[in-house]
Symmetry: C2
Subunit: 418 residues, 2 copies
Amino acid sequence: MLAEIITIGDEILIGQIVDTNSAWMAQALNAIGIRIKQISSVSDDRNHILNALKEAQERADIILITGGLGPTKDDITKKTLADYFGVDMVADEEALQNVIRIFAKYNRPLLEVNRQQAMVPANCEVLNNHNGTAPGMWFEHSGKIIVSMPGVPHEMMYMVEHQVIPKLKQAFKLPFIIHKTLLTVGEGESFLAERIADIEDSLPPYIKLAYLPKLGQVRLRLSGYAENEQSLQSEIDAFAAKLTERLGNIIAAADDIPLEKALMNRLEQQGQTVSVAESCTGGYLSHLFTQHSGSSATFLGGAVSYANELKQEILGVSAQTLAAYGAVSEQTATEMVRGALSKFKSDYSIAITGIAGPTGGTDNKPVGTVWIGVAGLGECVVRKFQFGNKRQQNIERAAISALGMLNTLLTAPKTEDK
Amino acid sequence: MLAEIITIGDEILIGQIVDTNSAWMAQALNAIGIRIKQISSVSDDRNHILNALKEAQERADIILITGGLGPTKDDITKKTLADYFGVDMVADEEALQNVIRIFAKYNRPLLEVNRQQAMVPANCEVLNNHNGTAPGMWFEHSGKIIVSMPGVPHEMMYMVEHQVIPKLKQAFKLPFIIHKTLLTVGEGESFLAERIADIEDSLPPYIKLAYLPKLGQVRLRLSGYAENEQSLQSEIDAFAAKLTERLGNIIAAADDIPLEKALMNRLEQQGQTVSVAESCTGGYLSHLFTQHSGSSATFLGGAVSYANELKQEILGVSAQTLAAYGAVSEQTATEMVRGALSKFKSDYSIAITGIAGPTGGTDNKPVGTVWIGVAGLGECVVRKFQFGNKRQQNIERAAISALGMLNTLLTAPKTEDK
């Protein structure tokens, strides 16, 4: 079963927003065995939308459309869909009541443009929008299913989870698609490929292996396509086991989870906690941890000690150290991580101090110089990294490198075990 | 001049990664007057890539392709391009030297798969990759330009900035596209539309107005297309001035900049600083500030006081308050923001404490309950918000609401001025 995604909106094509809806919908559909053939982003332009619909309908059985359903003049998706199907626009009573209800709830006057949101093409089945005023629309046309949804992510997500997925499951007997991902840390793509070439060569044609490199990590993804779930699952598991055996301790997780989540899972199993002292990463590492539900079980929090005064005030870094060695130094990183450990009373702490750039570098400490310390249970490791000159990238690489160091500290045999 | 973007990779179509490259490339091309007609994401599949190329070439003059150039077996872009153009693969000496140089730099043995990275279709002009091993490729074919680049964002970005953009400027006489964006805060899309309907109706056909709503903000974007840069710029400016006059104080910035950046600009002009005390946002607000270069001029840092102990240790919230009212309460938010102000010695502080969810809610304090305090220069405002049940969304909405409150505090007449 093949689907396509069409996202509509000039804001995507001028790069003002990143299309995150497509990845989310792709995951949701893959999980029920529907493969995405293509994702297309097109402008708020009638002919272009019509052409995209025509092309998608030639390739796929299901088309999910988002965007262009707002109340303003640049939103033309509904009218274009009515033209595509050759039907009139009609008022939908339930959608109108939803609009009225929402405006009443927020005690706002109902404008004519808001009433227009209840107008839909005559051949659609309305999908109620529980989080906004624009209704979703479900069409069945020439044996294909076309679904139009708002572009606001949480409105679309709720609609997909609660209405679109259940209806798709009813409409089709779906095949099975299984993905299995292993997260590896600290080894490059080509080295991995060389180490597992024979396993890769032995894969049957209906199981593919993909390498997904990102910031010092490589995800290995096995994807299988079949009619029979059971044998496919065991085959995938067997190949995953072979890969795991071969790659030993560079595997940080046997699931498609982020590195920080894998570390938190491990800490939670061990009943341990972690805190942070962030300078150049400025809260990004904390955000990585706390974006995950349940993070409070292991992540205590920490300091975003951006200014030197906060390094002293919160972490107890000495003014002398800062004056003698500077904020970006082995000594400061060491005092930061030890300060976090003692002040926040966590089992492990991570400290990061560096020059994210693009300005602020010197000859001795160019942009991209980052000192990272990890400490806990009697161990303390402080390392220097030299990244590039792109700010956002330096922030991300510093955070991931710090997580990599914590992973190593957690994996390596402890002093008392040696 | 029209361009299309094709991103290649199964990881996009199963939703494992979000395609951020396209938005970045779209911005870069728009800035030099090249409009993006369509963005398509396709799988690592020969026929599908060929079909996407054919369709894109029918619509556009320029095709930018990213992805599928890695050393592993699932990366088939290069071979498919050679087939598309009907040419052989040849070794490029400069690309090979680049691969050798990079492997020597990192002191790693050169594998056969790495050598393969220097093989390119015979009709291409190689674009050197300064940040990785996979060369970019520039093709001129049937009057169209096709560029294939690595999917790793920073490799692609460097290549676009330093090689593709200059070459495109040489190849075409480009028209002008001008965007002008106004950032508004605190008013819904339809109300805005109603207030400025007459201005919108008076726009000439070559200037479009788009509404881009996001989390309590609406960006108004004027886009003009013309041959003559000068008159278009002054026309756009005139319409922007009309909109600014009409919308008065809900405009937070006259540029397409994020809200936190607009606030930091304002604080910097006033020589003032800000600090934070984050609980449920867990570092996200700090990250919003510190992702911007130059943020250290106004953002001092703060506490990610996730655990109650850290609220006490870092911010001086009293154990009594926490016991009597709980961590998510007006009282705790007030003590957090006052604590941040006095400990971190900033002019303004922001405190956020709430239940991000999806678990942890109670009848009295359901998931999505968030208390936000902003304080500074003798003022202190603490407000309760009730968001939904999606964690990431609650984190983002809490952070943006906090910024909105700071914006109001900065905009409102001060007590002493009244």
